[in-house]
Subunit: 416 residues, 2 copies
């Protein structure tokens, strides 16, 4: 098919010109969670480069990045040690006829780091990992029902996609829903599953878009663990989004609750495409029995990047640093909101913060805030949890707060 380039005005931005071209050759111009149509006015769709905690769009505008590529960037973009490890591996070969030594080393690293884990397997997408966990749980228990919290995101495959377009009822036939952090609703779901309970699948904390974030209560985590023990089912913690940011031993370790299976992706290779399932010996045989695979799952470069990422995470207390930076942001935002007389709510672990405006059902305030802050160089999100990286320093947070003050001013000027 010959390609039709739309007439483009020379006064348009590079982003606008690329969007016009994209509309011709990509459905809707973009798809999925990176579609800028879901973002407030002024957000770029296309990016040119990134370094540390700064991203640059195709028009050369630079932003302090609070999305970190929606999670993968844990240590800052293009972290020198991660890049060096990846490049050294790439010089030998990436996608080979089998894995490299680095696969064994990475599995050893994960098993040493994660108290729950006796083994690891690798994939490319978070959804590969959550799907593999469910498959392993079903294979290991010989049962079918998987309990999931209403509204939790576990990927965009038909069985778990937030959309129903193109999805059949059978794709979700064996899901049973409960409310996150609600022990009573969890118990009701367990009862509904009955003798067919294969697994409870739960995100490391409640990070559903557009609502206050919630850490799991100890009572909830313990109830999930106890239910799985009683039923000989698998407790699966989905660490895809939270992994390595709260606790490098696993997000539930501080609660004293260890999962049977964990799904990892996003941050584990600091931006290189990788996912992992970790599991305990109870599910080792089942993991051996299922057939899951992918053409690129043993690519050595992403694994070398992951080893470097994990090493830095072990040696430098990444959760501690990004928590401190997140707290600095939180305190600063609270002070600014107060100064401008605007009511906000901040929730979630400071490493993955969310700020919502009170009385903002249509997110008009949130969007106005973000658009104005963006114009002044800070890349926030109005509804999705944000992400800190270890490249964020106090000076970056303070600079972002300057941008945020323009955001609050824009909210005050809204005719609400």
């Amino acid at each position: 098919m010959t390609q039709h380039i739309a007439r483009l005005s020379e006064t348009q931005t590079a982003d606008a010109m690329l969007r016009a071209r994209a509309r011709l050759v990509v459905p809707g111009g973009m798809w999925g969670h990176l579609n800028a149509a879901r973002l407030p006015e002024g957000y770029p769709q296309f990016f040119a480069s990134a370094e540390g905690c700064r991203v640059r769009d195709v028009d050369g505008r630079e932003y302090i990045d609070f999305m970190c590529s929606w999670g993968p960037i844990l240590l800052g973009h293009r972290h020198p040690e991660v890049q060096a490890a990846a490049e050294a591996q790439a010089a030998k070969g990436d996608c080979l006829n089998g894995p490299g030594e680095v696969m064994v080393e990475l599995a050893e690293d994960l098993v040493a780091m994660l108290p729950h884990a006796d083994w690891a397997m690798f994939q490319k997408n978070g959804g590969d990992a959550t799907t593999s966990c469910v498959t392993i749980a079903r294979a290991g228990t010989g049962r079918r029902k998987v309990l999931v919290a209403r509204g939790s995101y576990h990927g965009a495959l038909p069985w778990c996609s937030p959309s129903v377009a193109g999805v059949t009822a059978e794709d979700r036939a064996h899901l049973v829903h409960f409310e996150y952090n609600d022990v009573q609703s969890l118990r009701a779901a367990i009862e509904e599953a009955g003798k067919d309970l294969a697994a409870i699948l739960v995100t490391a904390f409640r990070h559903d878009m557009g609502r206050d974030l919630e850490l799991p209560t100890r009572e909830f985590a313990e109830a999930a663990r106890a239910a799985c023990d009683a039923a000989d089912a698998a407790l699966i913690v989905d660490e895809v989004r939270a992994g390595l940011r709260l606790d490098i031993r696993g997000s539930w370790e501080a609660l004293g609750v260890r999962p049977d299976l964990c799904a990892w992706s996003k941050a584990i290779a600091n931006g290189y495409a990788l996912a992992a399932v970790t599991g305990n010996d109870r599910f080792r045989e089942a993991a051996t029995r299922i057939f899951v695979t992918g053409s690129f799952w043993c690519g050595t470069v992403a694994m070398a990047a992951a080893r470097a990422t994990l090493r830095i995470a072990r040696e430098t207390d990444v959760p501690g640093h990004i928590r401190a930076m997140g707290l600095r942001l939180r305190v600063g935002l609270a002070a600014l909101a107060n100064e401008h007389g605007i009511a906000i709510r901040q929730s979630g672990p400071p490493q993955m913060p969310l700020m919502l405006f009170e009385a903002d059902p249509e997110v008009r305030k949130g969007r106005a805030f973000c658009s104005a802050a963006l114009r002044h160089g800070a890349f926030f999100h109005p509804q999705h949890n944000m992400f800190l990286s270890s490249a964020h320093r106090a000076a970056d947070i303070d600079e972002a707060l300057q941008a945020a003050s323009h955001g609050f001013k824009a909210v005050r000027e809204l005719d609400v």
Copy 2:
């Protein structure tokens, strides 16, 4: 969990030592299609490096590679121009807050190259692409039934995995099976699907493991197209394995049959992790409506590698070269078999050849052949289609045939 390193004899190979370590921290020591336990005796599990058409295992043994990483390596390992394009992109950034310009350029490249395509979307795994195609077909038609050929491989997700471990009946509730290249069985399946027919999903040619490969007949391809037209359903060609090796315009173009949707992966970025769906305008709206996404799907480096790969494929007649090399191999193997008085069957397009031994139901001959050839430096497969790359030159084929002659000798010496 602390890690227990098995006592390893100093006389063991590096591969054996890595396998011993892997057994502790990876279920079964390895999983999926790269598990060397599925290969004949002597095959390495772990690889150290690769260049051109040569791969090297962790013990320093070098092989002429006829698996090309099970497909992804189209131009030879570490092709300099692909590497340069990838490295230039990596210096700017890979996984950003949105796609780069390269996504638009790559979609334009695909739309320009593929007569069937009006648009493209990108993913990481072949299974992401086949699953997206099915989801788009269901969204576009509002129907559920998907016809698939018995034994065809479309990925390892629960709906299509060759294994049933951990899979529920509902995962496959809406699949209807037919025999590849059998128009009558296709018609029966269409009748069974009735008014609920969403799509016919078919591999570019029949490349089921362990049986003779079969190109699609024109009659079969036309019947599939006509049935989809009559029912307003989607014809999906799964190009994941064959894509770019038979015809860069699409594997069915020479048959005069154009699909509505195509799934691509493996070779399109010469080893970089990438997949794509291409489609026509009939399914553009449906593709806009579904929600599919992944953390790494817009990674710019794999896309830059894909652009370089496609450019080289357009400029150098890759299918023509690898077909010539595959024919040289085929003719050479036939001559050697004849010389040794051994009956073999060769099938498939020469670019993706398969050699099976007559009267070899347990693949004893095939495995003996491969083991011996491996010891002499050629990496063949006894049951899975193999892959040629544009790095294979006549001298490499001739050298591999020397190794193959040892393989035939080993077969002759079997006490069959």
